[in-house]
Every structure is written in C-alpha cells, then in structure tokens.
C-alpha cells in the first residue's frame, strides 16, 4: 500500500516537474529569413531627407525616430538598423499642443541628448533633415550643404548625422549595403513652395534634378561593379506638395471664418475701383500691376481660398488673424524695413498698400510651378529607376489616394481613420509637412509591398494600429481667442 502511495506521489511530482518546468519558449518568431525572398537585408541602408530621418513636429526625437519607415521595415525583416537617436524632446524646438480648445501650439525649448553619437560606422538611417538631392552627392558637413553653399545658412544636421565620414552616398556605400532605399527630391520643390515661392525663387530645375539623381544612380552602379554585388534598390517618388496640410489648412479656414465679412470687403474693394476682390497679397511672380505701387499684387477671394486654387501656408496663420487691421506687425516681427509703397495704416491684407506677405501665399502660378516640378522629378525618378534596375515606390499615388478619400470620409487603415487634414487627420505631425509615426507605417507598407512583389518576398505588413501617436502636449496651458494660434516664429527653424 505504501509503495502504491509512493508511486502516486512520485507520479504527481514528476507531473509537476514536467508541467512547471516547461517554459513554453517554443513560439517561433514570425519573422524568418525566408520572408524577404530574394531581397537580402543583411545590411540595410536608407538615404533621404527629413522624412527618412523620422523628423516630426519640427525636430528629430527618439519616440518618432523609432517609427521612421526605415525602422519599421528593418523590424519587419529583423535586421540591425542604426539610427542617430536623440532622446525626447529631440534636438530642440519640438512643436507641441498647448491647448486643444482653442487649438494652440507651443515650441518646447528644452532638448534631449544624442544617444548613438559614438556609433563607429555610418548609420543605417542616412536621412538628413533639409537634404536636397544635391546634398546626397556633395554635402559632407554643415558648410558644404546646399543651404550653406546657396544661401549661407549652415544646416547642423549634416554635422550631427554625417560626422565627417563623407557624404550620404559615400557613407551608405561604405556599409556595403545589400539593400538600399533612396527617397530624395522632396526638398528640391518644398523649399520653394513652403516659402510661398520666395526662397528659393524656383524649385530645382528638372534638368538639374536629372543630373543629380542620375549622379546618385551612377554612384550606386559603380559600387555594384566594384563590389561585384547586386543590392536591391528602391526609390521613393515625390508626393504632391501642394496637398499637404502646411498649405491646405489656413485658406479654407479663412474662407469660412464668420469673423471675416467677405461680402463687405468685396463692396469696399469694388468701391475703391480695384479690378478684383478678396485677400490681397504681394506677388512677385504673377499678380497685377496696379500702376501706382512698386510691387505687384494678387487677389484671392473666399472661393479661391476654399477650393485651394490659392494656398496660404501654416506660417501665414499667425498673421491671418490680423486681416483688416491697421498693422505692420509682420515687418516688426521679422525685422524687415517696411518696403517702399507699403502703408501699414491701411487694412492689412485687404488693401493693395498693405498686402498679405508674399512668403505666405502659394498662388495659382506658384502651384503650377510646384506641380510641374513634382511631375518632372517623378518622371526622372521613374526613368532612372528603369535604366538601373531600381524599383519605384509610388508614394505620390498613395498620397493622392489618401487625399482623394478625404472627401468621402477618409481612409481606415488597421482600424484607424486617416485624412490628410492638419493634426486631426492623423497622417501629419504638427508641422503639417512631415508624416506622423502612423503615416510612416503606411509608407513602410508601400515599400514592403514593392519588395514583396519584386523580390518574391513575403514580409508581413506593419500593423499601423499598433503604432502610437506622436503628437505631444506641452506642459503649459493657456487660453487665447478662438483661433488656431501659431506663434509667429514657430516655423522659423523648420527643415524638410
């Protein structure tokens, strides 16, 4: 009997052992080597600008960088991906939400610290905020980048990310990449567009872009020949710049703002003999010469603002609240001497002698210039890709689809509804230009779809719903009037 009990007890004991000692570690990672098909992600490098860097709301900060599309792709394929992380709130000047109602922005003046500055090799993420196509080939530091060479404005991000180890392209190739993405050219038109067509006065010409982009492709081909390898190369194309919230937010809001009495303005302007009516803005490109004034002006009535045939930038929001007032605040704020012919005692933005500043307006001519540049660049990108065996990720088409869906209720992705509208649309960070972390998930999926199609791969798509939001509240809280409140210098340091 005792023997029997011993037997039973030892049976219990062994059962306990077997059950409790099993650590259930037999779950295999979903990401396996085979999923990338013929694409080799052993050494994965991304070249680009601020979007590639994971720049959001005016700076780079870790909690956004870790969701850059490059990071997300690297995670899906399970490869190492080194990033020049900066702890939150980033390198300084992060835009945050100060209050929801009224919607008020605030610039966080504190900075984080670099977390990966001593990484000995080049970073896998070679996206540099502000980089033009020119810079990928030629910029080695803050004083050889295009913004210094052409407008004497050093861009410290080049020092921070390149660290004296050569240009973006040189560093990318120094890593002996087995897979490379190149998404460049946005800034070659964005700089023009976001400055209302003033600085620079024209986008990079298609001819220049052809040379520069071709030069990058040539560099990659040389590497292929010299190394005897054949890395996979994806190139992103340029999304339509004039449809981003940086341009599409202020104008329509002004058009329907009940505080602006458009019909009274029209009557007043017609009474004073003006040929057209509406918002009157300074215009160096198109515009009307009224005779007496040493500058040309343009007109945008409420219909033009609402439909977006004339665009006002987010930067202009600061001064949109001053329309109709006798003010020269724009010139005071920016230390600009009041130009000849301007009379700041006239109603701001509604009188030809006190026009709304040129730098905040993208008028129909400028929109055409921007759109032509985008089309031209995208043709070049497609052509170069075809010649060199690169594959195009058609970000432009994806963005246009999302934009088109705005008017039918938006696009639901992994359970989250998205629109291209400012902040609430969920696709853009607070600067109105750069994608949110979740939008990076959408972008990463566009890249992954091309990889899967062209390299016989089966990489799982990113679950966009699992990516956290990237818009922060500021610590301070204050009320003003009932408008979108953007401090006048909020966008001054913005890079693209």
């Amino acid at each position: 009997m005792k023997l029997k009990i011993k037997f039973i007890v030892s049976l219990f004991l062994s059962a306990l052992f077997f059950i409790s000692c099993n650590d259930y570690s037999d779950l295999t990672p979903v990401v396996q080597d085979k999923v990338s098909g013929s694409a080799d992600f052993t050494r994965f490098v991304t070249i680009g600008n601020s979007i590639t860097a994971g720049y959001q709301s005016g700076t780079i900060y870790e909690s956004a960088q870790m969701y850059s599309y490059g990071n997300l792709i690297a995670k899906q394929v399970g490869t190492d991906y080194q990033v020049p992380y900066v702890s939150d709130p980033g390198l300084g000047g992060r835009m945050e939400v100060q209050s929801l109602s009224p919607f008020t922005l605030y610039t966080n003046t504190s900075s984080g610290i670099p977390l990966n500055a001593n990484y000995p090799a080049a970073y896998n993420n070679l996206g540099i905020p502000g980089a033009l196509t020119y810079d990928v080939l030629f910029a080695k530091n803050s004083t050889t980048c295009a913004s210094f060479v052409f407008s004497n404005s050093p861009n410290p991000y080049f020092d921070f990310i390149l660290r004296g180890k050569g240009t973006q392209l040189e560093q990318a190739l120094s890593l002996k990449p087995t897979f490379l993405t190149l998404w460049i050219g946005n800034n070659d038109v964005l700089g023009y567009a976001t400055s209302g067509g003033t600085s620079p006065a024209a986008p990079t010409s298609v001819a220049q872009f052809t040379q520069l982009f071709g030069g990058i492709a040539q560099g990659i081909q040389q590497y292929k020949t010299q190394s005897g390898t054949n890395p996979g190369v994806l190139v992103g194309n340029i999304p339509n710049v004039s449809a981003i919230p940086f341009f599409t937010t202020v104008g329509p809001a002004l058009a329907i703002n009940p505080a602006v009495k458009w019909w009274q303005i029209r009557l007043m302007q017609q009474g004073s003999g003006l040929p057209l009516t509406g918002l009157i803005y300074a215009s160096h490109e198109g515009g009307t010469n009224l005779g007496m004034l040493p500058f040309k002006v343009g007109f945008a009535d409420s219909t033009a603002l609402l439909s977006g045939s004339t665009l006002i930038t987010l930067r202009g929001q600061t001064y949109a609240g001053l329309l109709g007032q006798q003010t020269g605040k724009f010139y005071r704020d920016n230390n600009i001497p009041v130009p000849l012919g301007i009379d700041t005692t006239k109603p701001f933005g509604f009188h030809p002698q006190n026009p709304f500043p040129d730098a905040f307006v993208l008028d129909p001519d400028e929109i055409t210039t921007s759109n032509n540049a985008v089309t031209g660049f995208n043709n070049v990108i497609a052509g170069v890709a075809q010649q060199n065996g690169f594959y195009v990720v058609d970000i432009n088409t994806k963005f246009n689809e999302l934009r088109a869906a705005d008017f039918t209720g938006g696009t639901v992705i992994n359970g989250i509804p998205f629109k291209t509208t400012y902040v609430e649309g969920g696709l853009f960070s607070l600067d109105g230009v750069h994608p949110s972390s979740q939008a990076h998930g959408i972008i990463a999926n566009e890249f992954i779809k091309v990889i899967n199609a062209k390299f016989n791969a089966n990489i799982p798509l990113v679950d966009v719903g699992s990516i956290p939001g990237s818009i922060f509240f500021s610590g301070k809280y204050s009320y003003r009037d009932n408008n979108l409140i953007i401090p006048y210098n909020l966008f001054d340091h913005l890079l693209f």
Partner: protein, 413 residues
C-alpha cells in the same frame, strides 16, 4: 524509517492542489479541502464544511474553531501582440486570503456554524507602460463573506443545511486611456469602489447510504454587488475636461455554484472523493461602470459562459496522528477568447495538490497543503479587445501558473 522520512519531505514539498478557480473565484477555504483537490463536498469533515457543505457539520460533535490562511502567488505572462512575440510579465503579487470557521453541535440532530471567507478575488498588475496598458494595468477585486449556517439531521444517514451570506467587497480597476490615436500622451484612470452589504444564501445535503459511501451536494447562490466609489484621472491638463472623474457606480453578480460529490472509504485508512462543480459564470456578462456626474456608462462585454470543475482527492491515514492527502482538479475556462482580457488571464486550469494533517494534541490539529496550478497555454487569435487603435486586437499567447500554500489550525473543545 529513512524512507518514511523522505516520503514525508516529498509530501510536504508537494502538499496539495486547488486554489485559483476559473474566473475570479477563490476556493482556498481550508488547507484540507485544498489538499484534496477541493473534492470536499461529500467529505466536509472539518469546520470548513461551513463553506463547502454545511450538511457536513452533522459529522462532528462538540465545538470546533478553525483559522487558516493561504498564500497565493500567481504568475502570468503575455507574449504578443501577434505577430510579435515579445514577452510581458505581470508583477508577481502575493495574496493572503484568510478564513475562519466555528461550529457547534447542539445535539445529534442540530448543529450550527459560522464562517468568514474570501470567496472571490483577483489581482493582476502589469507595468504601466506595457503593450496592453489601455486594457489593464492594475485590477483588484476582493469579496468577503460572513456566513452563519444551521444543520439538521432528521435521521442518521441524512443531513441538510441552510446558510445566510452577508458579503462586502471592494474593487480597484486602473488602466491607461488613449484619448486619441494621434496623440503620444495618454492618461491614467483609476476606479475604486466598494459595497458594504450584499446578500446571498447557501444550502447543503449529505447522505450516507452505507457506511463506506457518502454523497454530498451544495448550492451557493449568486451575490449581487452594487459598488459605489470614485474615479480619478491623471494626465495632460489639456485633456482634463475629457477624462473620467467623480462618483461612479458599478454592478457585479458573482456566479452561483452547484456541487455534487461522492466520497468512498476504500479501506479503514484510505478515503477517495470526487466532485463535480457547476459554476454559473454566465452571470458575468459585462463590466459596466456608470459615471454619476455625466450619466455616461462605460461598458465592455465579458460574456462568460457557465463552466465546471471536476475534482478528485484521496486521503490516507498513516497513523492516529498523521494523514496524507493528495488531489487534482480540472477547471474549465469560462470566458471566450474573444473577450479574454489581461486583467484576468484565463484558460483551462489543472490543479495538483497535496497536504499533510497532523494531530498534535487531542484537541489541536494542524494542516498544511500545497497546490500548484498550471493554466493551459492559451493563444488568442480572435480577440475583440482593443489595445490601441480601433482595429488593433489583442492577439497573443497567455501563460499562467500559481503556487499556493495553505496552513490551517483546528481547535476543538
């Protein structure tokens, strides 16, 4: 002698299995019952019969007091969210549900008893930044009951009991909320409530058709709690007006339980028992909190199903002083994987228990038992619990286990 000692040590290490039942029911009311895998409905031969089966009080004469406590140390982990397999561990918490029973036999026919137990309770705590932070961070529920029981035995072979249950309870639910998928900031919401008076009843039956066979049955009614308390939220000032605060109320009905069991004396010294227990978990269909100031109601479906527990136990009387016990049970998961929530990781559970009872003096008995519970690894792929954006379902793999030690003292006079 040497082998006997080894045997005892092994037994002490192993002592008994039967603690966390399905859902948030606790069945740790007595070290002996625990040691027998909870197959105690037809045994009920110590003062914990007040809980297990009041009819069992007819088996003893005189007055008995029993005090005991269990140490429950559950462990839970979650791996996910699918397809990711990152492992998250719940904090290792330790609970000490305590019980007290007193019984007195007035005559051969009439007995009465009184019990204090913790029939329902749970506690889970996850890191406040873990992936499921919007589903659960800290969850804690404790119910306490005071229960008088009377037992009547019209003939020697049959006894009946009826009891009244007075219960009080408190609950804490803490988790983060995500005001919007586009915001990086979130807020921490804490709900705390209690109910000072809820009522229920129980009944028991014990039949001894022959000298070696006992049949037992017990019924525990539902208890309906109405919690009142407060909500507090901490988060960005910008969100203050949108976060829950102020007085709240919530209702919770704990399930009814019907148990039937048999006990057989195989030899003079060996008794085996088996129980089937039906747990009416369908009472737990939703978790609903009402915010009194705004009148808004936050409701999440739970939709538990009725479930069952099958229990086996064996007790062997080594000599007049020492008895050894062992048990096992299977506890069916009452919740559909759709609604499985990390506040209460659930799956089918297997319990293995053992225990030792020693009569130190004629009127003083001490019982120690150990129970190990292994919850079956559960992989959820059809979750309807949302952990972030609207469509982000909380699919992944749960693993849980628990170690339970129980110690009880019975003093008779």
């Amino acid at each position: 002698m040497k082998s006997k000692l080894l045997f005892l040590i092994i037994t002490l290490l192993l002592i008994s299995t039967n603690a966390l039942a399905g859902g948030f029911q606790l069945n740790e009311h007595g070290a002996k019952a625990l040691a027998l895998g909870g197959a105690f409905t037809a045994v009920a031969n110590d003062p914990s019969a007040v809980y297990w089966n009041g009819a069992g009080l007819s088996q003893f004469s005189g007055t008995h007091l029993m005090l005991g406590s269990s140490l429950i140390a559950p462990q839970s982990s979650f791996r996910g969210v699918y397809p990711d397999i990152t492992k998250y561990r719940a904090a290792n918490l330790v609970f000490f549900p305590t019980h007290f029973f007193a019984t007195h036999a007035f005559s051969e026919k009439f007995s009465a008893g009184f019990g204090f137990t913790t029939p329902f309770g749970l506690g889970t705590e996850w890191d406040s930044d873990w992936i499921g932070k919007y589903l659960a961070v800290k969850t804690q529920l404790m119910t306490f009951t005071l229960s008088p029981v009377v037992t009547y035995s019209p003939i020697k072979q049959i006894s009946l009991s009826a009891g009244f249950v007075y219960s009080f309870a408190n609950v804490i639910i803490e988790r983060k909320v995500q005001p919007s998928t586009i915001l990086a900031d979130d807020a921490y919401v804490s709900l705390e409530g209690n109910d000072n008076a809820a009522f229920g009843f129980n009944a028991g039956l014990m039949i001894k058709p022959t000298s070696f066979l006992t049949i037992g049955a017990s019924y525990h009614s539902q208890v309906k709690y109405g919690f009142t308390g407060t909500a507090t939220s901490t988060g960005p000032a910008q969100l203050q007006s949108q976060l829950p605060s102020g007085d709240i109320s919530a209702e919770l009905t704990t399930p009814q339980n019907i148990a039937v069991g048999i006990a057989i004396d195989i030899t003079k010294n060996l008794k085996v028992s088996a129980d089937y227990q039906m747990v009416g978990w369908s009472s737990y269909d939703k978790l609903e909190v009402k915010f009194e100031e705004t009148g808004t109601v936050s409701s999440s479906p739970r939709l538990y199903d009725d479930s069952y527990i099958i229990r086996f136990g064996a007790g062997y009387r080594l000599n007049d002083q020492v008895s050894l016990m062992g048990g096992a049970y299977f506890d069916k998961n009452p919740v559909s994987t759709k609604y499985l929530n990390p506040s209460l990781p659930e799956s089918d559970r297997l319990g293995l228990s053992c225990g030792i009872e020693g009569r130190l003096f004629d009127n003083f008995t001490i019982t120690g038992s150990y129970l190990f519970i292994r919850a079956k690894q559960l992989t959820v792929s059809d979750s309807e619990e949302i952990y972030s954006g609207l469509g982000s379902t909380f699919n992944g793999t749960y693993n849980s286990s628990a170690n339970i030690f129980s110690l009880g003292f019975v003093y008779s006079f």
